[in-house]
């Protein structure tokens, strides 16, 4: 099945944005060693929106962090836009959005968005206008607010604006809306789709939520646990387009039901 899957991936994406080959990640040493990922291979198509779903302990966050050069791999190869994760990180090819908005609490909203402009190697990189990005995430007028004055949803919007300021070609998102209430999450899901369409950025999005994975992802990558392996890479297509209303349609519910069955098989 894996061979068929790989073949399928190769035909569907001739120039993958992210290519993962036989990657494994192990933590600890000796008897305490834990295998978080074992022989994972996949391709993320350029410009695509891939959501990652799987039971706890399947290593979805670990995979995302390995791509971001935050976790060292124990074997295999990761290529991000044809470069190593480290080179891609230093070249600002990707941005990362954490579960916690991770704003610096002593900086105003606009200064948080400016942070990526201030640090790291600049070497002629071009940046997007922080004010324009704040307007894009619906926070125009809140530039001078401090993070503690914002709601959780607003803080996460700031984090997204901050991620976009380097004009990344890839956006890696690690359960960014996991801690938000459902209404806020729905709204941000819709806005994220709009931002994805406007910017053409490749997005890899880790989530716990089946509806979120189905609603956002052109593809859903399903991982199995203990150790983390690829279970499936499923194409999700809604010919009628994606608005929040489709979540009550039969076609959407069919997709989420399939994902749920698959998720149960992963346990």
């Amino acid at each position: 099945m894996l061979a068929a899957l790989e073949q399928n991936l190769e035909t569907s994406a001739s120039h993958p944005a992210i290519s993962v080959r036989n990657v494994s990640v192990r933590f600890g040493e000796g008897r305490g060693e834990v295998t978080a990922l074992s022989d994972v291979s996949l391709d993320i198509p350029e410009g695509g929106f891939v959501t990652m779903l799987g039971p706890s302990g399947c290593g979805k966050s670990t995979l995302l962090r390995a791509i971001a050069d935050l976790v060292p791999t124990s074997g295999g190869d990761i290529s991000v836009l044809g470069r190593s994760p480290r080179q891609a990180r230093e070249g600002r090819d990707f941005a990362f959005v954490f579960q916690d908005a991770t704003l610096l609490p002593w900086r105003s909203v606009i200064d948080n968005v400016r942070l990526p402009i201030e640090v790291g190697k600049k070497n002629g990189a071009s940046f997007d206008d922080p004010h324009k990005l704040l307007a894009m995430v619906g926070l125009a007028g809140r530039e001078d607010a401090l993070p503690h004055e914002l709601s959780g949803g607003m803080r996460q919007r700031v984090a997204i604006a901050r991620a976009l300021v380097t004009r990344p070609r890839i956006l890696l998102m690690d359960e960014p809306f996991g801690a938000l209430d459902e209404i806020t999450r729905d709204k941000l899901n819709e806005e994220l789709l709009r931002i994805w369409q406007e910017t053409g950025t490749t997005i890899v999005f880790v989530t716990h939520s089946i509806p979120e994975a189905a609603f956002l992802g052109q593809h859903v990558l399903m991982l199995k646990a203990h150790p983390g392996r690829v279970k499936d890479f499923m194409k999700v297509d809604f010919p009628s387009g994606r608005s929040l209303a489709i979540r009550d349609t039969v076609e959407f519910i069919t997709v989420t039901a399939r994902l749920r069955t698959m998720l149960e098989e992963c346990l």
Partner: protein, 275 residues
């Protein structure tokens, strides 16, 4: 430390609120403590008069007020060196602690090698150390500054190390994704994150550096509030002794207020709320 975190942030005050209004509010808030202090003074005054307590044991508040007035010149002359010693000790002790903490955070080896020594220095009773320092450095300002600095040093070191390490792992991950240099991480994340911890320590240091300077002046000094305390004690000038203690307390309160003021100007943010 939690004290510093829960400290009300002044930015909550509307900028257009009038000074008089704010003053009135401040007065209202401090009214209970003013009434308590006033009540205690009255009880003291009445107690001393009614029970006929000899003045050398406990002078009445009015006697102390008179002593303050009559010895204003002496007190002013002696408060200056003490203030200078306390302030310089505060600056050097805290500066050294801050630099050491930054070094520790950059080099775990340095932390392992030096931190235990710092704990050992802390374990030496300062009063026992004072005569040794006087023997080494003579009777000038130096031993007093060193003792005031030593008293400030340890709480600031401990708090600063904790503060520099308080930056969340996610913040450090963020800086790594941004390929920030260690220097950028220090200045843009670690040091700002440490400020509430630092100010908690500085508030402790503001009062203890005055104590350090006074204790140092007990050992064979001829000037300063410490020397005045010893002199007044051995000459049974009780009212002057109490007046000196009042001035010493006022000096500590002054330094404490300056630190609190600086904190309210600098730390206008609240630590990341749980999301």
């Amino acid at each position: 430390m939690t004290d510093a975190l829960s400290n009300p942030v002044t930015s909550n005050v509307e900028p257009n609120e009038g000074f008089i209004h704010r003053f009135g509010e401040g007065l209202q808030r401090s009214l209970p403590v003013i009434l308590t202090a006033g009540g205690l003074l009255i009880v003291w005054q009445v107690g001393v008069t009614v029970f006929n307590v000899p003045t050398f044991m406990a002078p009445s508040p009015t006697a102390i007020a008179v002593a303050l007035y009559e010895n204003a010149g002496t007190l002013w002359r002696n408060v200056q060196p003490t203030m200078l010693e306390a302030a310089l000790g505060f600056v050097f002790g805290n500066l050294f602690a801050i630099l050491l903490a930054i070094w520790f955070v950059h080099s775990p080896t340095a932390e392992q090698a030096v931190y235990p020594l710092a704990v050992f220095v802390k374990a030496i009773p300062i009063i026992a150390l004072a005569p040794i320092l006087v023997l080494i450095f003579g009777n000038g300002l130096t031993p007093k500054i060193i003792i005031a600095a030593l008293i400030c040093f340890f709480p600031t070191l401990v708090n600063m190390v904790q503060g520099l390490k308080s930056a969340s792992p996610a913040m450090l991950d963020l800086m790594r994704v941004l390929s920030a240099s260690p220097n950028e991480i220090l200045w843009k994340v670690r040091i700002p994150a440490s400020l509430p911890f630092l100010f908690a320590a500085l508030r402790i240091a503001a009062t203890s550096c005055v104590m350090g300077a006074i204790v140092a002046e007990w050992i064979g000094s001829t000037y300063g509030l410490g020397a005045l305390i010893i002199d007044a004690t051995f000459n049974f000038r009780s009212a002057l002794l109490y007046a000196t203690v009042v001035i010493a307390a006022l000096l500590a309160v002054l330094l404490f207020s300056l630190v609190s003021l600086a904190e309210s100007r600098i730390v206008r943010w609240k630590p990341a709320a749980s999301e």
